[in-house]
Symmetry: C2
Subunit: 193 residues, 2 copies
Amino acid sequence: MKSDQIKTVALKYFTIHGYEGASLSQIAEEVGMKKQSIYAHFKGKDDLFLQVLHDAKENELSATRQYFNSLNSYNPKEDLYGFLRFVINLFQKSEQLKFWLRMSFFPPAHLAKEIEAEAVDIDEVVHELLENKFQTWLDASLLVGFSARTLTLAFLGVVDSIYLELVYGNDEKRLEEKLEASWKIYWKGISQR
Amino acid sequence: MKSDQIKTVALKYFTIHGYEGASLSQIAEEVGMKKQSIYAHFKGKDDLFLQVLHDAKENELSATRQYFNSLNSYNPKEDLYGFLRFVINLFQKSEQLKFWLRMSFFPPAHLAKEIEAEAVDIDEVVHELLENKFQTWLDASLLVGFSARTLTLAFLGVVDSIYLELVYGNDEKRLEEKLEASWKIYWKGISQR
DNA sequence: ATGTACCTTACGACCGTTCGTTAGTAAGGG
DNA sequence: CCCTTACTAACGAACGGTCGTAAGGTACAT
C-alpha cells in the first residue's frame, strides 16, 4: 500500500524535524513520487500528520495492552521491571514512540488541542492498567506501605526518566546504568517494610 | 538594549514553535521592528538562535551552581527535596529551561552538534555537583547502602520525571502529586537500612 | 560653532527559494 | 465508464537573507 509507505516516511520526518520542519516534497522524494501525488492519498499535511499520529497512538496502546495481558499477576518485581524493558524495546523497535513523545511534549500550535486529547487518552489508559495491577498486588499483600496511586505515579516517574534517556538517546550504556539505578532504588523503596 | 529584547522574544518563539517554526518576521513584529532590522544585531537566524541557546545555558548553569553553594551539606533530605523545588521554580520563573529542554531533546538537525556539546557540558556539571554532594553525605554516614553514582543517577531520574511533567505541563495538581509520590519512594529507598 | 567622517540602527524593495495547495490531464484496472 | 493514482504546471504566500539608503549619534579636526 502506497499510503502506508507515505505514512512511514512521514513519521520519520516528523520525528526528526518536527511538524514545521518536515516538508512534503522531501517525504515524497523518499517515497519516490512528486509531492503533489501525496494529495491523491491525503487531504493535506494536517491530514497526513493526524493519520500518522492516530496510527502511532493505536499501536502504542495495543502493544501496552498486550504486555499487561501477558502478565502473571503475582510477581510484581518481575512484571514491573519487565514493563521498563518492554518500553525500551518498544522505543527501539519502531520510531512511533519517539514520534509520539515529541508531538505530545512539543505539539504544533494549531493542532495542540487534537494531540492533547489523544495524549490524555493514552495516559489515562496506561495509568489505569498500572494502578489496577498495583491494587491486585496490594490485595494479595505482595506489596505494602503505599497506596496504589502513589506506587503508580512513582513508577510512571521511572518510566518517564527512561523516556527521556531514550529520546536523548546517544548513549546505550548510560541508559542501562540509569535504568538500573532508578529501578534498584524504586524497588527498595516499595518492597521494604 | 534592543538585542536583548529580540533575544527574549526569540526565546519565546523558539520554545513554542521550534527552530523551524519560528519566523524572523513574527519575532521582529512582536519586538516592534521589521525583520531586516534583526540583521543589524545578529548575523542571521542561526546566530540569533545560538546566542539564545548560550544565554539559556549560562543562566541555568549559574542558577544551579548558586543552589548548590547555598546548601548546608548535612541535611540530605532537605537539600535533595529542595533541589526538586528549585528545578520547578526555575522552570516556572523563565522560559529558558523549557527552551533548553526542547532544543536538547529535539534539536534542529543542522545545529545538533553544537547543541549536543552544550548539553553534555551542562549535564556533566550537574552530575558532578550532585555526586560530590552524595559522596560527602556517604562519608558522613548520613546515607548508606548505595554508591554515590547510583544515588545520583536515580535522583537525576526523579528530576527527569519532573522535567517531563513540567514540559507536558497543563496540570499543576498532577505535578505536585507525582513529585510527592516519586520523592516519597525515592527517599524511602535510599534512607532505609 | 561648524563641517566632516564614521558607526549604529532601522527601513523599503527585492532576491531566490521553498512552502502547501490546486487544476487539469493521462494511464490503468475493476 | 469510472475511479484511483500519478503526473506536469502553476499558484499565492511565506521563508531567510541582501541590497542601498537614510536618520541619528558620536568623535574629531578645523
